[in-house]
């Protein structure tokens, strides 16, 4: 028989299967979610008292009275890193031989590779959305109004896809799920060499320099602008640009490495 499936239908079937895999191990979703929520609660608990209220009227009043608004972007960025699961999903299929089976069938190799990216994207939206929801419950209130939530989510999505691409490239290159997992260690420099707890101007010299080269900085700043300060279009633009460039770079790397992986040796 002819397999007359279109690319999109194949992608849909493969994505569905991948979602099923995720659903079968719900606990795997927890660590990243908990870390992200942890940022929100613990930092608000530790610093919220000072920077959320007591600093009012001093030069340290960068949270403008609502520290949740200030710290939520960090949590969201952390949640968006869940996109890095894409690479792990893909490499699991390579290790189990499922990838080879699909290759021996007349289906598009791009569908095989895009399915885990799709699920990574779902994951980013789901986790970021959940954190956002928690944020709203405990008092987040964007300076630009509710549309701010959408902006924050959209930046998180692009950023998360950047991590998805990065993990796919790293996973395929290393050929092991450990390789893909190790890639998530990028998380630490990404989050901590950035204006995580205070604005960039308040960082010490060396960290300020490091942060300037870290695209996470601009992503967090853009989200913060929307949450704390209002419409600062140049900051917003820089945020989208950083996230977009990062995603474009890593997705290109992912495509190159995936093409290699699906090529015949």
């Amino acid at each position: 028989m002819e397999s007359n499936r279109s690319f999109l239908v194949q992608l849909q079937i493969l994505t569905k299967r991948m979602v099923l895999r995720v659903v079968r191990r719900p606990l795997a979703e927890l660590p990243n979610l908990i870390i992200s929520a942890f940022f929100l609660f613990v930092y608000d608990g530790a610093l919220g008292g000072v920077f959320g209220g007591a600093a009012s009227g001093t030069p340290f009043d960068f949270a403008k009275g609502n520290f949740i608004n200030f710290i939520l972007p960090v949590s969201i960025v952390s949640a968006s890193l869940s996109g890095a699961a894409s690479g792990i999903y893909l490499v699991e299929d390579i290790e189990s031989g499922v990838f080879k089976r699909y290759q021996s069938m007349p289906i598009s190799r791009w569908a095989i590779i895009l399915a885990p990216m799709n699920v990574g994207a779902f994951r980013v939206l789901l986790q970021s959305g959940l954190i956002l929801f928690i944020g709203i419950i405990i008092g987040a209130d964007p300076a630009v109004g509710s549309i701010g939530f959408l902006i924050v989510l959209s930046i998180a999505f692009i950023w998360g896809m950047g991590f998805a691409g990065y993990s796919v490239a790293a996973g395929v290159k290393s050929g092991s799920s450990q390789g893909a997992q190790a890639a998530t260690f990028l998380f630490f420099p990404a989050i901590f060499l950035a204006p995580t707890f205070v604005p960039r101007e308040a960082l010490k010299g060396w960290l300020e320099t490091a942060a300037a080269y870290n695209p996470t900085t601009y992503v967090i700043e853009a989200m913060r602008a929307v949450m704390v300060d209002g419409w600062e279009l140049d900051v917003l633009f820089r945020g989208y640009l950083s996230a977009g460039l990062f995603a474009a770079l890593t997705l290109t790397l992912a495509v190159i490495s995936a093409r290699k992986a699906t090529e015949k040796a």
């Binding site: 397999s3 499936r5 194949q10 079937i13 299967r17 189990s96």
Partner: protein
């Protein structure tokens, strides 16, 4: 038209460390509706050959076609026609058998409804209906093999490639798979399978190619191969080493294995008395003697110079399981 036509294919793996000639020169032809066995030891190049024929590896030199379609240039068309079960089963442990069949049916283009029907058929066919709702993780080795075979049958392929379909299975499960494979052949499916078991090749394959170190060293039906050795195999067993050594000198052209000597002659049974007389007149004591038709084992020894290890084990375990 030939089901599979392989002409002098070669595969060289080049890495930074070294160059491996996994397949040096392999040619064979498979007719439609037959089971063709590629028999060879570990590292012979069986899997590499299968991967090339199933479009998963490029062919370094030579050419191959499946149902007249060139494997190298028309890989997508070839994939439409073939079913593949590789040596390492590609199964998704987190899903159930049913879900795996359903997904695979959908990928082959069946509608949701048809996929459900086909899933039921295939589960029945490979005897997994009872385990259908269980996750593959909980399946035994034999069940996984059967599931893997079933998944390669979703689109009712005309040609089926099976790389060591029964390796690691107990004799009972092996039988089940053998019967299944024969039934497929009887329904018109052409099957190319690899094995390192002589019995399997003997029992299943209509024709056999013995492959060793990347080369086809013999080809034909099991009977042809056995006949190619000519005559019968007489086996002499000895109780002590001196007798064996003496006998070696007297009999000439023998092949030794442990405490036994083998000699291949025409019309073996009638020659036994002559040999025995010869030996006893030289003071050599023979503990037992027998004549038999050559086995594939003997063929293998003849064409490669060594025995296929492990083939004895499976015989023994099979005897055990019969008891």
């Amino acid at each position: 038209m030939l089901a599979v036509d392989v002409k002098n294919i070669k595969k060289t793996f080049i890495s930074k460390q070294d160059i491996v000639e996994a397949v040096k020169d392999v040619s064979f032809q498979v007719k439609q509706g037959e089971i063709f066995g590629l028999l060879g030891p570990n590292g012979a190049g069986k899997s590499t050959t299968i991967l090339m024929l199933t479009t998963l590896l490029s062919i370094t030199e030579g050419s191959a076609s499946v149902l007249g379609i060139d494997v190298a240039s028309k890989d997508k068309e070839v994939r439409e026609k073939i079913g593949v079960a590789l040596q390492d089963t590609g199964l998704d442990n987190l899903l159930t058998g049913k879900e795996l069949f359903f997904t695979t049916c959908r990928l082959w283009g069946y509608s949701k409804k048809d996929s459900e029907v086909r899933t039921g058929e295939l589960l029945e066919l490979v005897g997994l209906t009872e385990a259908a709702e269980r996750r593959v993780k909980t399946y035994s080795g034999g069940m996984k093999r059967r599931l893997d075979l079933g998944l390669s049958l979703v689109h009712s392929p005309e040609i089926l490639f099976l790389d060591e379909p029964t390796t690691g299975l107990d004799p009972g499960s092996r039988r089940v798979l053998w019967d299944e494979i024969k039934r497929l052949r009887d329904n018109g499916v052409t099957i190319i399978l690899t094995t390192q078991y002589l019995e399997e090749a003997d029992e299943l394959a209509d024709r056999i190619a013995i492959i060793d170190e990347g080369l086809v060293v013999a080809e034909g039906t099991a009977d042809e191969l056995k006949a190619s050795i000519g005559g019968d195999v007489i086996t002499f067993a000895f109780d002590n080493y001196d007798d064996l050594e003496n006998a070696k000198n007297i009999l000439k052209n023998t092949v030794q294995e442990k405490n036994e000597l083998r000699i291949t002659v025409e019309d073996g049974a009638s020659k036994i008395p002559v040999y025995l007389k010869d030996l006893s007149s030289n003071g050599v004591e023979v503990s037992s003697v027998s004549a038999s038709k050559p086995t594939l084992d003997d063929v293998f020894l003849e064409v490669t110079g060594y025995r296929l290890e492990g083939s004895e084990d499976i015989k023994k375990s099979e005897e055990k399981s019969k008891r």
